[in-house]
Amino acid sequence: MADNTLLEIRGLVIQATSYPPGEPPKEVTLVHGVDLTLQRGRVLGLIGESGAGKSTIGLSAMAYGRGGVRLTGGTITLNGREIRLASPAALRSLRGREVTYVSQSAAASFNPAKRLMEQVIETSIAHGVMTRPEAEARAVLLFRKLGLPNPETFGNRYPHQVSGGQLQRAMTAMALCPKPDLVIFDEPTTALDVTTQIDVLAAIKEAIRDTQVAALYITHDLAVVAQVADEIMVLRHGRMVELGETAQIIKEPRQDYTRALVSVRSLEHAEKPPAPPVLRIEGLTARYRGTHFDVLKRVSVELPKGQTLAVVGESGSGKSTLARAITGLLPPSSGRITFDGRELSPDLAGRSKDDLREIQMIYQMADTAMNPRQTVGTIIGRPLEFYFGLKGAARDRRVQELLDEIEMGKGFADRYPAELSGGQKQRVCIARALAAKPKLIICDEVTSALDPLVADGILKLLLNLQAIEHVAYLFITHDLATVRAIADKIAVMYKGQVVRYGQKSDVLAPPFDDYTDLLLSSVPEMEVGWLEQVIAHRKMESAGN
């Protein structure tokens, strides 16, 4: 058993120096004594939210600290030798030879000035693992295995000439080419659209199995890691929470935190009965200035009073453009927007103050949605002052009421956005929208930048507020779990068109159109073996055709 141990980490401590503005630099500990053992040919999933230290731990397997991060304590034993304190030369001989790395953003990780083949075979040649013809042959083999188009000539291209999903596979090929013992996958599918993610995930899984390589698979998405890992380690704030076989972690988590992570996407919301619409969009077509194609093509949807219409689509589907058209930022070239029984002027300048007040917007990045030089009190108070003329104590009282409504309580009004956590920032943005007493709030990917547990909290808050304030939501998202949690009606968008639209129960029930089917079946589910089932099912279907 001991002979089979590839990587053993004991009591790993990782520190970094942080430079808070206006204060002396201080030491922060990112990882507090983590232990980890990896056998040859096994896949260990490292999972946690942002700040859990999962990437930092992953890179420690190469004794690498990113951006001033230092491995300050413990032992890291790779192939039987201690590497934490190894010399730079010794580290060079193992990096790229025994351990390789696949990053989240392959687009940035490839040298833009070199052809892909050069980069994929570089390590194999530099470390003398194989000759150039051997390495090139192996690269082509890997390209084929990873399902890249034209594997013979794929390597002749430059990074900017291939798609994001293909680059992610090419980076996997680059990692596997020198026949390493261990590959570190650092969120390799997170930046991809869901329908691309499933293919890349399947390709990675197959490549791992075929090459018998061991892997550390780092991700924040438990459903994804469940598909590829043999074991899962749950991390939080630089400490281990739980370690177990994948099936055990998914089915019978022992720790509360793990349980919360497992149940995170299970929020469900019963669909409300049909009601008269607050917003009706008819035949909306729009394009950006100076472009020659429509980003929105004859979009028609309705949103009932006090309900939620989820607009689902992948990047480039036009879902955010729809929001810009409704707010008046992008006047449509044709079509009508009727709001609360009156037709809205297509552009912002033609709208009344009440039109503006009754439609509010919440953004994806709460960070950039709040003026960093204004306090929370000013941010929430301004709409009160602007729309209702509230001043002084009356305004402050109302601000506090709103803060209570978003469950933040006292003491926040004087703080600046930089002093809030990600979830708190998004709550303040919600309060600012509510302050205007709107009839409609447009939510543009409001939970996508947040960690799953925080996102869940925001969704619950939004649902509660809807019950109290009877406000309607136009909820734009790429995430189907979010849709299930919050929608009454759904519009699925693809390349600027609504391809499926109706009550949630109808849209999510078969028979599906091709795109919705692809989209729904691509969302990873929290069960072992889901990926194989979907892939097998798809193969059968394409064989059937």
Partner: protein, 271 residues
């Protein structure tokens, strides 16, 4: 917040220069344009820095010269700043034709080195303080324009500015309450750099004989009139050059500090 040593040094030196410039009349031991001693006397208790090529006290001339240098530089950098940032913000917020027109004009002026433009202009214009301030200020405003436009454009695409527009806020709220507070710190640092530029510019023009005219003098002009002293090995002849360098370096230190402070504010969101 603790001041780093370099910033402290820069601030105190800059303060000292300003103090001397403002109170020059009471500080300078001798009049500016009077031969009080022999030619090229060495430093002594009477003439701390010695006398120049026609027997004037170098220290007194240095003090009065500093007044002129700092005044011209300050006036023209204030002009450059108000003109440049006003037009820069205007271009950023208005966009469209206004932006195009202003930006292309600035491109054109910046397509030629400022010194050359100034020389061409000064070959026609009369040489007096107002003209010098105007020429330096207008030429330098192009750089302020580029920076303030870029900063404002960066801020104008932020979601919080969009949110203010969607709320229905007027243009003055958008500019003064949303954009300006966030643009201020890079602009403050820029002011320091523009001031240095103006100091170097007026000194260079005077050195070339195309800046401050007698009986007034400034540091650049003093370098020119004392350059023979150097050949005779008089270190005092280097004093005006050293003064220019000291002023430029100390303001640079302050600007550097403001810049790092603001960039750490930007990037410093913890974690």
């Amino acid at each position: 917040m603790r001041l780093p040593f370099s910033a402290l040094l820069g601030l105190s030196l800059t303060g000292l220069f300003l103090f001397i410039a403002i109170f020059a009349r009471w500080i300078a031991p001798y009049p500016i344009d009077l031969a009080v001693g022999g030619v090229w006397e060495g430093p002594s208790a009477k003439y701390w820095l010695g006398t120049d090529t026609i027997g004037r006290d170098i220290l007194s001339r240095l003090i009065y010269g500093g007044q002129v240098t700092i005044f011209v530089a300050l006036a023209s950098s204030i002009l450059a700043f108000s003109l440049g940032s006003f037009l820069g913000f205007l271009a950023a917020v208005k966009g469209g034709l206004v932006d195009q027109l202003l930006s292309r004009m600035v491109d054109l002026v910046m397509a030629i080195p400022s010194l050359i433009v100034a020389l061409v202009m000064l070959s026609v214009l009369p040489l007096n303080l107002t003209v010098l301030i105007l020429v330096i200020g207008v030429l330098d405003s192009t750089r302020v324009f580029r920076l303030s436009r870029a900063v404002a454009v960066d801020i104008a695409v932020m979601d919080y500015v969009e949110a203010a527009k969607l709320r229905g806020e007027g243009q003055s709220w958008v500019i003064f309450r949303e954009i300006l507070p966030n643009a201020l710190s890079p602009l403050v640092a820029e002011f320091g750099l523009r001031f240095i530029f103006a100091v170097l510019f007026i000194s260079t023009l005077s050195f070339l004989g195309l800046g401050i005219q007698p009986p007034l003098t400034d540091w650049g002009g003093m370098v020119k009139e004392n350059k023979d002293g150097l050949i005779y090995g008089k270190a005092a002849a280097l004093m005006p050059a050293a003064a220019i360098a000291a002023l430029a370096i100390s303001v640079n230190l302050v600007a550097d500090w403001v810049l790092t402070r603001t960039s750490s504010l930007k990037g410093g969101r913890g974690g």
